[in-house]
C-alpha cells in the first residue's frame, strides 16, 4: 500500500509548528500504524533529509497509554476501541492521504513533533487519585466483601490507560472522563469510601487549576476512548462533587 502523510513537525515547545508531507510505499496491510511510521523514520534516517518524526510509544499492545496520535481528525484513528499502536493499515485504503497531529490541549504542551507533555494527569492523581494506605498493617483481603457487580463496575472504570485521548477529543480539552474514571474506580469500592468526597474535591480542583476545560456534555471523550470508558463515570463524579459541597470534609478547604 502507498500513503501520503501530512505530519505535524515542531522542533520544541517554543518553536512554530507546521505540516510536512512525506510518502511511504510498499506498506503491508498487516503493518501497524506505528510500524508504518517506523518505516518512514528508517527512510528519513537513511536519506538524511530530515530528523525522524518523534512520537511517544512503548508497549505497542494497547495498555501502557504512551502512544496517542490525532489521525485524520480522530484520536487514535478510525477504528473503535483501540490505541494508535493497535491501529492497522488494513483500516486505510491504498493511496490514502493521512493527516497526523499531536494531542492539542493547553494542559498538554508539545515537546517535539507528535510528543506532548501529559504530566498534568500525574498531578491530578497526586491530588487524590489513590487510597491512603501505607505498606503493611492492612486487613486480610477477603475480610472486605465486594459485590461482584460493584467490583466489575470499578474495574470498568479502572481500565483507563491515561492516554489523554478524551482530552484531545474534547472541544474544551476537558479531563472529566479521565478524572471521573479514577474517582469511580476508587469511590465504588468500600476501601475508597473513607476519602471519597475529599478525593472528588481535590481532584476536580486540581484539574481546573491545570488548565483543562469544562465539560459541556458532548461525549466526544466516550466516543474516542480506546478503552471505551463510559460517560456514566462523569455523572457519578458530578453527583459526588455536589455531595462534597454539603459535606463536612468538603467544606474544609
Amino acid at each position: 500500500m502507498k500513503f501520503t502523510l501530512h505530519i505535524w513537525r515542531q522542533e520544541n515547545a517554543h518553536a512554530k509548528g507546521r505540516f510536512e508531507t512525506y510518502h511511504v510505499d510498499n506498506i503491508s496491510a498487516e503493518c501497524s500504524f506505528l510500524e508504518m511510521l517506523d518505516i518512514l523514520n528508517e527512510q528519513l534516517v537513511n536519506d538524511r533529509i530530515a530528523h525522524p518524526v518523534c512520537f511517544d510509544n512503548d508497549c505497542r499492545e494497547g495498555i501502557c497509554g504512551m502512544c496517542g496520535l490525532y489521525i485524520n481528525g480522530r484520536p487514535h484513528g478510525n477504528d473503535d476501541g483501540v490505541t494508535t499502536c493497535q491501529l492497522h493499515m488494513r483500516r486505510f485504503t491504498d493511496g490514502d492521504e493521512i493527516w497526523i497531529e499531536p494531542w492539542r490541549a493547553k494542559a498538554f504542551p508539545v515537546i517535539r513533533d507528535l510528543v506532548v507533555d501529559r504530566s498534568a494527569f500525574d498531578k491530578i492523581i497526586q491530588a487524590g487519585g489513590y487510597i491512603s494506605t501505607t505498606t503493611g498493617g492492612v486487613p486480610d483481603a477477603n475480610s472486605i466483601l465486594i459485590p461482584k457487580h460493584k467490583a466489575d463496575q470499578s474495574m470498568d472504570a479502572a481500565a483507563c490507560i491515561g492516554c489523554g485521548a478524551c482530552v484531545a477529543a474534547c472541544k474544551n480539552a476537558s479531563a472529566m472522563l479521565f478524572v471521573g474514571a479514577k474517582v469511580s474506580h476508587l469511590n465504588l469500592l468500600p476501601q475508597g469510601k473513607v476519602e471519597a468526597l475529599d478525593r472528588v474535591r481535590k481532584m476536580v480542583m486540581k484539574m481546573d487549576e491545570l488548565g483543562f476545560g469544562s465539560c459541556t456534555n458532548t461525549y466526544a471523550c466516550e466516543a474516542e476512548c480506546p478503552k471505551q470508558i463510559k460517560r456514566q463515570n462523569i455523572a457519578r463524579m458530578n453527583r459526588q462533587w455536589i455531595g462534597q459541597m454539603f459535606s463536612e470534609t468538603g467544606n474544609k478547604k
Partner: protein, 649 residues
Amino acid sequence: MILDSKIPEGPLSEKWTNYKASQKLVNPANKRKIDIIVVGTGLAGASAAASLGALGFNVDIFCIQDSPRRAHSIAAQGGINAAKNYQNDGDSVERLFRDTIKGGDYRAREANVYRLAEVSGDIIDQCVAQGVPFARDYGGLLDNRSFGGAQVSRTFYARGQTGQQLLLGAYGALSREIARGTVRLHERREMMELVVIEGRARGIIARNLVTGQLERYAAHAVVLATGGYGNVYYLSTNAMNSNGSAAWICHKKGAAFANPCYVQIHPTCIPVHGDYQSKLTLMSESLRNDGRIWVPKKKEDAEAIRRGEKGPLDIPEEDRDYYLERRYPAFGNLVPRDVASRAAKERCDAGFGVGTTGLAVYLDFADAIKRMGRDVVEQKYGNLFQMYQKIVDTDPYEEPMMIYPAVHYTMGGLWVDYELQTTIQGLFAAGEANFSDHGANRLGASALMQGLADGYFVLPYTMQNYLADQIYVGKISPYAKEFDQAEDSVRQRIDNLFNVGRHATEPHSVDFFHKALGKIMWEYVGMARNTQSLTQAMDLVKELESNFWNKVYVPGSAEEFNPELEKAYRLADYFELARLIITDALHREESCGGHFRTEHQTEDGETQRDDENYMYVAAWEYQGHNVPETMTKEELKYEHIKIAKRNYK
C-alpha cells in the same frame, strides 16, 4: 570475587522472621536524612519507592517514560500468585515454595524463594487495601484461576489486565508519597551511569530525555528496578523502551551478573508476520486454563493449511494432535512455559506447524465455548480475544487462535544476596532486574508476585540493615570527582556514537543493526542451543558489533529530544550483553528450564540437568572492554527440598 549470599541461620521457615527480628533499623528521625535513588517505576520500583517514602526516607525515583504508570509491568495480563488457599484446594506457603523451586528446575536459591512464598499473601492484602479491583465471585469473595506448573488455583486476577491494576495500585501509593513530599519524581530521565565512591553506590548520572542535559543525583543507596533484557532479541513481548542498559552499566561498574543465559520463551504469543514487525504480542497464559493446544496429526493436513487450501475447522477431531495433553497427561495444557514452548517448536520443526509460515500452532476454545457458553468465555477472556482479533483480523470465537513462542522474560540479572544487595555495596536490585527467585524458568503469575514482594516487603527491611550506619556519613555531594568522571564517560560514550555516523561510508540506522542482532540471537541462542550454534552466534555477534561501530548513523544531536540516540546507546550495551549470554550458555553444559542444550536431553526430548556439576549460580564479573569475564560460582544448597527430576507427566 567472594559471593556471600548472607542467608540467615535457622530452619527455612524461620529465616525471614529471624532476620527481621535481629536486623538493624534506622530510627524515624534519622530516616529523613537518608537519600535513596530508585531507578524504574514498574511494580518493583514503584512499590519500593512508595514503601521507603512512607517510612520517611528521602526518595528520588526515575523513569524513562512520561509517567510512572507506563512501566512495562502494566502489560502483564494473567495474574499474580499468592498462597492464600482461599479455594481450600491444598495450597500453602510450602506448596508455592516447592512449585516455584521445581518450576525453576532447581536452580533458584531456597531461602529467597521461601521468603517470596511467605510474603505472597500480604501482597494481595496490600493491593486490595489500595483498591485494586480483583475479580470477585457472587458472594463478594476473591476469585482465583490456575496457571502453568501448579495443581492449585492460587492466581488472583483483574480480568486480563492484572499487571495494569497492580501497577496502578503501586502508582497510587507512589503518587501519595510524591504529594506528601517524601518522593520526588523524575520522569523522562534515563540512568546513564552509576557513581561509585570508595566501593559504595552513591548516585547516578541521568539524561533528561527532553533536553538531553546530563544531571547528577547523589544518595546513600541506589535501587535498580529496571526490568529485564529480553529486547536483546529485538522481537519480544517487552515494550519498545524496555532495555538492559541500567543493569549493564552497573555490571560494568562491578556488580556481578548472574545466569544471563536463562531467558524465558513464552509459548502463547501471536506469531511473527513480517520484517517490519516491531514487537510480539503475548496472549496470556491464563488462556491455557480453557484453551486446548493442537496441530494436525497428518503432515498432509498441515501442508494443506500452510498452502491455504484447508482451515482448522476442516480438520476432524480424530486428526488433531493435542500434543501437550498427549505428552503430559498430568498437567496437560498447563505445563510450565519452557516445556510448552519446546513442545510447540518440536511439532513445528517436525513439519506439523500451521499458518502461512508453518511456525504456529492452534489454541482452540471450541470445547470451552461448548462447555461454558460464549458469554462466560467472553467474560473471562474478552479483552484478550479482542486484542487478538484486532491484530490478526480473524475471530477467535469462530476459529482457533494461532500462537507461537516468543521471548518474554529474563530470569538472569544482577546477582543479589538475601538482602537483594548486589556485589556493589549500597546498590540493590529488585524485580526482573535481579536473578534471585525464578531459577532457570519462571512460573506464570510469579513475576508480579516477585516485583511487589521485593518492593513492598523485602527492600524496606533489608535496606535498613545497610543504611543504619549510613546516618554518620552525612549528605553525599554530587560535586565529588567521581561524579565528574562518570559524567565525562557518559559524554564520551555519546560522542563516540555520533562520530561513527559522521565518518561512515555506508551508514545504517540503529534498527537495522538491532534487527540483525535479534535474528542471530533467536536463531542460535533461542529455544534450542548447542556448542556449534553458540560458537557461531559469538562470531556473528562480534562481526555485527564491529560493523555497528563503523557504520551506525545517529541523526541530530545529544542536546535535544532524540529517540534515535536512545536506541543507539541501548543497542551498544545489548551487543556486550549478548556476548555474555552466549558465554554463559556455552559454559552451562546441561539443560535446565529455559536453557535447552540439544546435547543434553533425554530420549523423549526433555531437559537433562547435571546436578553434580552445575547446581550453582554463575555470577560473571566484568574485566574490561573485550576481556573475557570471570565466573564465580554460588553453590546452591538444597537443605529443605528434595531434589527430583522435573516431571509434569
